[in-house]
Point group: C2
Chain length 128, copies 2
């Protein structure tokens, strides 16, 4: 069986949810989407590709910032509509804000508190 056959792209408009974890620490870095091509390219190249809903195209993570993700291992969930990727995050940050993780805000007493680790200045990396 081709591994892609276990994926169910039908539930979210041709995509599965993809959760990237830092392979060294297990920290959740980001959540994005994969279509079939993104999944295949990730497997074939060992570099994580997503489907960008905002750009509406295949997205080689880090193509602009250089902060690519090297795939270390990949898991699929029970019903095949989500994958977990354990990655080596080059540059040390997954988020376009320059934070290590996109999940840098925690709910505390009804307020979102920024607990993020700032790794780079996005103005330096993206020039904006």
């Amino acid at each position: 069986m081709n591994p892609v056959d276990a994926l169910d792209f039908s539930k979210a408009g041709g995509h599965v949810a993809a959760i990237a974890l830092d392979d060294a620490t297990g920290e959740v870095l980001m959540v994005a989407w994969m279509n079939e091509e993104a999944f295949r390219r990730t497997i074939e190249t060992g570099e994580v590709h997503y489907w960008s809903r905002s750009k509406d195209r295949l997205w080689h993570k880090g193509e602009e910032s250089g902060n690519t993700q090297k795939l270390r291992s990949l898991f699929i969930d029970c019903d095949g509509d989500a994958v977990v990727l354990r990655v080596e995050q080059l540059g040390g940050a997954a988020c376009h804000t320059g934070k290590r993780s996109c999940f840098f805000r925690r709910l505390e007493s009804g307020e979102w508190v920024d607990e993020g680790v700032q790794v780079f200045d996005p103005a330096d990396v993206y020039g904006r």
Copy 2:
């Protein structure tokens, strides 16, 4: 500001992705969906509620199995379309298969390998 205002339900048909982690170990247990009501009920009750796409209704996780999830902390991502929930998983298993995590299959040399920890027999819990 109401914390729900930071959530963007528009990108996935009224839902945000919700990733549940075991608060003690950080292991990813499952990925599901929340609509606004599921988010509010989770915050208000301290027990995790999702929107079930298969049942097409609000889903109090564990309502059938008794394996509810006690919310320990909650994070939101940079663009507000995903949340991470750190939970205490009652019964020790999040997956309807009786595995501890839904992500029990790892890709190895092009094959999905079951590495899951079987916590309960679903026939005992669901009677089917």
